[in-house]
């Protein structure tokens, strides 16, 4: 016997960004509670709009499941007194379990008899559990931000204004902050009315009649279809960014897409500015032509039906006109600003109390960038561009446009720098030095941009590490992880002949020169190695199996490009060949295992006796030189192939040679041979880490 359950929390408008997670949370909590309460049920549906969080459970049992459980009591020895009657302990157990001692049985456990009782609980009526259960779920809901309202001692994401709680057609009696649960919901704020929900199954349809589309997917599909229809009709491309669609979806109960227009003369402003202004301030979708060029239109979604769309479009156009006029004003004003005046203003902007102003930061970026450029042997022209780009990479931070739209940092700098006559490399580097802006973003495409980007990020990381700001757990307020990962990504993208330690040393020296550091360079350096190790590992793990990552990291990650090449090569070998490569690795591992017993790695050729050990020695010496060359040239597949050539000799060596010879010198020499071979292997990877 079952009935449907409906629980709707009616709220004042909940922040759009919280809603999807809140809907899921409500569903999860209800499902968990039903399970704990032994209430069987059918499908569970969750819905959310700005004004409601809802869960609907199909076919919820009207009674809890009955259960039988066995409870263990005291041992026979304790349970019976000398006369064979129940002891106090046994009677106490009976009382505690609410059973008669008559029901006791004995069962053996590990050679001892214990009392057992079988208790059966008969399931109670679901309706007697619901009020308390739902109230607990309500008060256990968590949100990124909670609030209080009125004179109630209650916290929730926004004030609770109504509750619908129905089990079948029965109202579940409950109350919170003077709101009594009932069967009356509220329709669309303007198009609907209050309405009775006669039973849970009719909820979705009843609200649809009240102009509320409660199903999130359905609402999303409606918006997408309407946008597509408009795009088709007008031959537009409407740029729908997923996160904006998600926000808009949770700002409306009935979506109606409409468009408006703006004065084409605004198109003289860079389109990033217009798009950002439309998106961030107004939640509009921008409209593009086939070539991706912005058109003077915008698309927005109204919370309501198609009544008076012209009035609404006109209102939105008015607002956008004011916004874009502001943007144009900022854009024109900013261009009156000389770069050198902007730079002097950077001296008054604090980057971090202990790390000085942005001006201080820029001076450090300049020095780091110059030295990285030197280490990379860049050309004369590039040297000049790096210095200039480093000096002016942050000038746009004091422009009005970036003050208004911080996410346009770099974008405006590039545009303004080009207009001010800076060379193309420099202008581009200003934009690129913020790249990669996210895990999915590209690294800077130019070498100048790459150098400035690494210098800026390295300066922040070393600066923070020097004052003890080191990310732990979820704590990473300066996004240092992302920045370190960015550096790793840049090194890989440009295949830079630069090691992490070179980069650390350059940045640490610059910091030591330009500020008072509280921690020593070696302390910071140690932390940096550990920190970057994890970042390299993360980047590697994107393409390579974890055991392969472990194996190659073990052989060092200072040269990031090399470790990535080794990882890829090893992964390919593991994937492609099968038994063959596995036996190769097994032979390597036999070498490693015995090498551990060696005292040193100095092989004496004279002491080599058996044919097989001589053969191994010769084969090893033959590949050694080309192997090291391949490694230093980061030709990992070639290096691995050279090592693999030794497989036969190694196998024969172990078949024919008794390593643990009685003669001390011969034994030591054989171990030394394995040890020196092992040293070479370990420069590629610790093959023991591979899992088959």
């Amino acid at each position: 016997m079952s009935k449907d359950l409906l629980f709707e929390i009616g709220l004042e408008e909940v922040p759009a960004r919280f809603l999807r997670a809140a809907m899921q949370q409500l569903k999860d909590r209800v499902v968990k509670w039903l399970e704990q309460s032994r209430l069987s049920h059918g499908d569970v549906h969750a819905y959310a709009t700005p004004r409601r969080l809802v869960v609907r459970v199909e076919s919820l049992a009207e009674k809890q499941d009955d259960v039988e459980e066995e409870v263990k009591g005291p041992s026979r020895k304790i349970a019976l007194d000398e006369s064979g009657a129940w002891s106090k302990a046994a009677l106490g157990f009976a009382r505690g379990q609410g059973v008669d001692p008559e029901q006791f049985t004995f069962k053996e456990l590990n050679g001892v008899d214990y009392i057992y009782v079988t208790k059966s609980s008969v399931g109670v009526e679901t309706s007697s559990l619901l009020a308390e259960g739902l109230l607990n779920i309500l008060s256990s809901m968590t949100f990124p931000k909670n609030m209080r309202w009125g004179a109630y001692d209650y916290k929730f994401v926004r004030p609770i204004r109504w509750l619908v709680a129905l089990f079948g057609s029965e109202i579940i009696e409950m109350e919170v902050t003077d709101v009594k649960a009932g069967n009356v919901t509220r329709g669309h704020r303007f198009l609907g009315t209050e309405v009775v929900i006669s039973d849970p199954a009719s909820y979705v349809e009843t609200l649809r009649e009240q102009h509320v589309i409660v199903d999130v997917q359905e609402r999303k599909a409606m918006i997408e279809q309407q946008i597509q229809a408009l795009a088709d009709e007008k031959q537009w491309k409407i740029a729908v960014k997923e996160d904006l669609l998600e926000e808009v979806l949770f700002l409306v109960e009935t979506p109606t897409v409409l468009f408006g227009t703006f004065d084409p003369s605004f198109l003289n402003i860079p389109q990033e500015v217009l798009i950002t202004s439309m998106r961030e301030h107004q939640r509009y979708f921008p409209v593009l032509d086939d070539q991706g060029k912005l058109l003077p239109f915008f698309v927005t979604v109204r919370n309501g039906d198609a009544t008076s769309l012209d009035v609404i479009a006109k209102g939105n156009e008015k607002v956008l006109r004011a916004r874009l006029s502001d943007a144009k004003f900022f854009y024109d004003e900013d261009q009156k600003l000389q770069i050198k005046d902007a730079l002097s203003k950077l001296e008054t902007i604090v980057f971090h109390e202990e790390l000085g102003t942005i001006g201080d930061k820029v001076r450090r970026i300049r020095r780091i960038a110059d030295q990285v450029g030197q280490a990379l042997h860049i050309s004369g022209n590039q040297v000049e561009s790096v210095s200039r780009a480093a000096d002016i990479c942050k000038f746009d931070l004091v422009t009005q446009m970036v003050y208004e739209f911080p996410e346009l940092q770099g974008v405006m700098g590039e545009d303004y720098a080009r207009k001010a006559g800076e060379n193309e490399d420099v202008a581009k580097a200003i934009f690129e030095h913020y790249q990669p802006r996210s895990a999915s973003d590209d690294a800077p495409s130019s070498i100048v941009g790459a150098i400035i980007s690494m210098a800026d990020k390295m300066d922040t990381i070393v600066g923070c590490f020097s004052i003890g700001i080191i990310p732990t757990g979820s704590q990473d307020p300066y996004a240092l992880r992302r920045q370190a990962q960015g550096i790793v990504q840049i090194m890989i993208a440009h295949q830079l002949p630069l090691t992490l330690s070179q980069l650390f040393d350059i940045a640490l020296d610059v910091h030591e020169e330009l500020r008072d550091m509280k921690r020593t360079k070696s302390e910071i350096s140690k932390d940096l190695v550990e920190f970057f190790g994890l970042r390299v590992k993360k980047v590697l793990s994107e393409n390579v199996r974890y055991d392969v990552v472990d194996a190659v990291i073990q052989a060092g990650f200072d040269d990031v490009v090399s470790v990535v090449a080794r990882g890829d090569a090893l992964m390919q070998a593991v994937n492609s060949s099968t038994d063959d490569f596995k036996t190769t690795v097994e032979s390597f591992n036999r070498v490693s295992n015995l090498a551990a017993k060696a005292g040193n790695a100095e092989v004496s050729e004279q002491l080599l006796q058996e044919e097989a050990e001589k053969a191994l020695y010769t084969a090893w010496r033959a590949v050694q030189q080309p192997y090291h060359t391949a490694l230093s040239e980061r030709e990992a597949p070639k290096a691995l192939a050279l090592l693999a050539q030794l497989k036969e000799e190694i196998t024969q060596f172990f078949d024919a040679v008794m390593v643990m010879a009685e003669d001390d010198n011969i034994r030591k020499n054989r171990l030394a041979l394995l040890a020196s071979l092992d040293q070479d292997l370990k420069q590629f990877a610790d093959f023991n880490k591979l899992v088959w």
Binding site: E13, P50, A151, F190, N303, G315, K318, T348, V350
Partner: protein, 295 residues
């Protein structure tokens, strides 16, 4: 509907909701929230319902009367109700209807906006209300005022009168708004806008303003020592306005900025705490009156 009629309509509407209607406070301030009718009265257990127009000064927004949207001084219509009523959103929407805004022909939305005023130690949760994409109202449940948790919670509704009027009157330029028939907004406020902008950005005596800031701060402290909450708070407001003038003049560096804000905040916190003490000594007199129906 002209500007004056809008003010009268809102006053009548909220008076009908049992708010007392008071007049603007006579000390310069950046927002209606800083009026002691809001800042102090939203603290403590006493019920409170008030509505008033507040001319609010934002020196750095001065544009010499040349920008169609930005003003040195604009008008807020402020409503405070404590504890916040359960039907406050409906009341607010009714007030828009009284102004002639029919929700069926517009797009009205409550978009998350969490309000903070760090210099007064205030924080609240709520929305900006959008009318066809334009922010016309700030709607906030105060959670903290002067660094003190509010209990019960007051709700604050702040209408941006110029914006609302420019929408209702369909005007592009704020100076073209009709104050009353035959008198435009510009007739009343253009000259002060030009002069205040010029004074703020070109003329004000920075040295004197720094001196004044320190003097006002000292005087606030002196009044506080005597537990004279309202006089002390007036000087906090003066500090705040003086700071805004200095800031608009570009006289305060980013580093110093935090220091000045902290000084104002500390004063505001002390005043808030002392106000509560003084009300408690009086036995929170408004609690006894309960919710009286005004006639």
């Amino acid at each position: 509907m002209n500007f004056q009629k809008m003010i009268l309509t809102l006053q009548q509407f909220w008076a009908d909701q049992n708010c007392i209607i008071v007049n603007p406070y006579d000390t310069e301030k950046g927002a209606g929230t800083m009026n002691p009718m809001t800042f102090l009265r939203s603290l403590g257990p006493e019920p409170w319902k008030v509505a008033y127009v507040e001319p609010s000064r934002r020196p750095s927004d001065g544009r010499y009367g040349e920008n169609p949207n930005r003003l040195y001084q604009h008008h807020q219509f402020q409503v405070i109700i404590k504890p916040s009523p359960d039907n406050i959103q409906e009341l607010y929407l009714d007030s828009l209807k009284a102004l002639g805004v029919d929700a069926l022909h517009h797009d009205i939305r409550f978009v998350e906006d969490n309000w903070e005023n760090p210099s007064l130690g205030c924080a609240g949760l709520g929305w900006e209300v959008w009318l066809d994409g334009m922010e016309i109202t700030q709607f906030t449940y105060f959670q903290q005022v002067g660094g003190i948790e509010t209990n019960p919670v007051a709700v604050e509704i702040t209408y941006g009168m110029e914006r609302l009027a420019s929408y209702i009157q369909e005007k592009e330029n704020v100076f073209d708004l009709e104050w009353v028939n035959g008198i435009a907004y510009g007739d009343v406020f253009h000259q002060p806008e030009v002069e205040h902008s010029k004074y703020t950005f070109e003329v004000s005596d920075v040295k004197m303003l720094f001196t004044l800031f320190n003097m006002y701060e000292q005087e606030a402290n002196k009044a506080m020592e005597q537990h004279l909450v309202f006089p002390a708070y007036d000087y906090v407001l003066k500090c705040s306005h003086t700071f805004n003038l200095l800031d608009a003049r570009g006289a305060i560096s980013v580093t110093e900025r935090t220091g000045y804000i902290t000084r104002v905040r500390n004063l505001a916190r002390q005043v808030a705490a002392t106000y509560l003490e003084e009300r408690e000594k009086l036995g929170f007199p408004l609690c006894k009156k309960g919710d009286v129906e005004h006639v």
